[in-house]
Each structure stands twice: as structure tokens, then as C-alpha cells.
């Protein structure tokens, strides 16, 4: 949604949702990996990151990396766990969840954009 793959105006069809890269797929080996999704209108790179329930550990860790290696990547984390379920389900179930939370996800994306795209 943030990079425009999914529409903001209406709830996408199941086919549209299932065509989104990585939608409805969970691989244990991917936890902790920054996976590139696209770039937004403000030229910000958008990534997804699976962090299970350890997002605070990961955030602390990457803050330490920034601090110790003098990096300033300006990472903006958005916690969207509220719209997800922490078990592996077929992609169709994830589409049902997406439909249920679509307006809330849209609201989150709008809020994030309002904060980072000045």
C-alpha cells in the first residue's frame, strides 16, 4: 500500500492481494531479514521485517549498530503486528485478515506518510 502496489481507494481483490510479493508467506529463515518491497514518492526505501515478538530487541540492537558504527540510516519502524496473526495459515486466510483490517492499515500508512513525507 505504501509503495502503491495495493490501492488505497478500495479493498483489493484476492487475486490482487495474492500477487503482492511475500503476501501470506512466512519462512522461518526470513525472520530478521530486511526484505525490500519498493520505494515511495519521497524516495524512501520500504522494507518488511519479520521480528516475531522481539521487535524491541531488534530495535535496540539496530540502534546500537547505528551508534557504534556511526551510521545514520534514519530507519523508521512501523509495528503492524496488530493486523497480523502469528501462525502460518494459507494465503487465503491472510487475505481475509487483510480485508478485515484494510481501513486500519490504510490509516496507518497515511499516518506514516504524513510523518515522513514533509
Amino acid at each position: 500500500m505504501h509503495v502503491g502496489i495495493l490501492p488505497g481507494e478500495y479493498v483489493p481483490t484476492k487475486e490482487q492481494a495474492l500477487m503482492v510479493p511475500y503476501f501470506g508467506r512466512k519462512y522461518a529463515s526470513c525472520y530478521g531479514l530486511f526484505i525490500y518491497i519498493g520505494i515511495d514518492e519521497g524516495y524512501n526505501e520500504v522494507y518488511i521485517l519479520g521480528a516475531k515478538n522481539n521487535i524491541s530487541v531488534v530495535k535496540n540492537e539496530l540502534a546500537s549498530v547505528d551508534d557504534i558504527l556511526h551510521m545514520d540510516e534514519g530507519v523508521y519502524y512501523v509495528d503492524v503486528r496488530a493486523f497480523d496473526i502469528n501462525i502460518s495459515l494459507p494465503a487465503q486466510f491472510h487475505y481475509m485478515l487483510l480485508k478485515k483490517h484494510y481501513s486500519d492499515i490504510l490509516k496507518t500508512v497515511c499516518n506514516v506518510k504524513a510523518q515522513i513525507l514533509i
Partner: protein, 157 residues
């Protein structure tokens, strides 16, 4: 090079390994019970500090030694660091993360839980030390391996 010893809570195993590495604890034979009370950060990491790299010192190879608590998911923590460095265009050669959560003695688990979760420090800390002392040889072997790696690293570069 930055060397990060990781374990569950960043309070016992990683601190012990880093302390042996830096010479706070002996790297031959056994440590004494009292020596543990002189190690910085032993049994002190709080829950909200998990994930932070805490600086312990600089070793004889001039490498910075850190400790870090990563809860139960070391793969997640390690993936996140290397992946982050990768997308930032940094090389990860000089960041070495070492899992210090080697065979944990039950006394350390119980003592650590009492001290860090239940805040029964006066009871939990001695138990955790006794547990660490039972498996001390394994920590020494781990540190030996790490130092061997450091030596080879500088031979290669």
C-alpha cells in the same frame, strides 16, 4: 573488529565469556566465586536493555568486545544485524557475533530467573555463579576458539 558475545539475557553467559576474553576471569583453570562480583555487568542487565550492545572492553588484538542479550531467538538477532548492514552498504566482515549460550547449567537458569525476573538477587546471583563455575571449562574453550579465529583473521588480512 567488533566482537559481540550474545546469550539469552545478556547477564550471565555472555558476560562470563567476555570476562574470560578480557582477562577479568582466568583463561586457565578455575575462577573463584569472589571474582564474579568484580566483573562489570554480571547479573545486571534489565529486560528493557535486551538487544543493546554493551561495551565490556578492548582485547589484546585491539578488538572491541561487547555483550548483548537476544532473548531466545539468536538467529533473528544475528539476521537483523547482518541484513541491516547489508542494506546500508556496509561490509559485515568486522562484526562477529558469538553465541555464548553454551550448555547452560540448570543452576544458572534458575539463579538467573530468580535474580533478573523475580528480583531475588541475593539468592539468585550466587546460584547463577555456582552454575557458571560448573561449566566454566566450556566458556574457556569457547573463548579459546574465538581468540584462535581472531589470530587467523589478522593473518588473512
Amino acid at each position: 573488529m567488533k566482537l559481540i558475545y550474545t546469550c539469552y539475557g545478556g547477564s550471565h553467559s555472555s558476560v562470563t565469556a567476555a570476562a574470560i576474553h578480557l582477562g577479568y576471569l582466568p583463561c586457565h583453570g578455575r575462577s573463584s566465586y569472589e571474582q564474579f562480583y568484580t566483573i562489570p555487568f554480571y547479573d545486571e542487565m534489565d529486560e528493557d536493555q535486551l538487544g543493546k550492545w554493551v561495551f565490556m572492553g578492548t582485547d589484546e588484538f585491539n578488538n572491541d568486545i561487547y555483550i548483548c542479550g537476544v532473548k531466545g531467538d539468536k538467529d533473528l538477532a544475528i539476521n537483523a544485524v547482518y541484513s541491516y548492514l547489508n542494506i546500508s552498504g556496509m561490509t559485515a566482515d568486522h562484526i562477529i557475533m558469538v553465541d555464548a549460550l553454551i550448555t547452560l547449567h540448570p543452576l544458572t537458569s534458575i539463579g538467573g530467573y530468580m535474580s533478573r525476573h523475580l528480583n531475588w538477587v541475593r539468592l539468585g546471583r550466587p546460584l547463577s555463579i555456582m552454575g557458571i563455575m560448573c561449566t566454566y571449562d566450556q566458556f574457556v574453550r569457547l573463548v579459546d576458539k574465538v581468540k584462535e579465529y581472531e589470530k587467523n583473521f589478522y593473518d588473512i588480512y
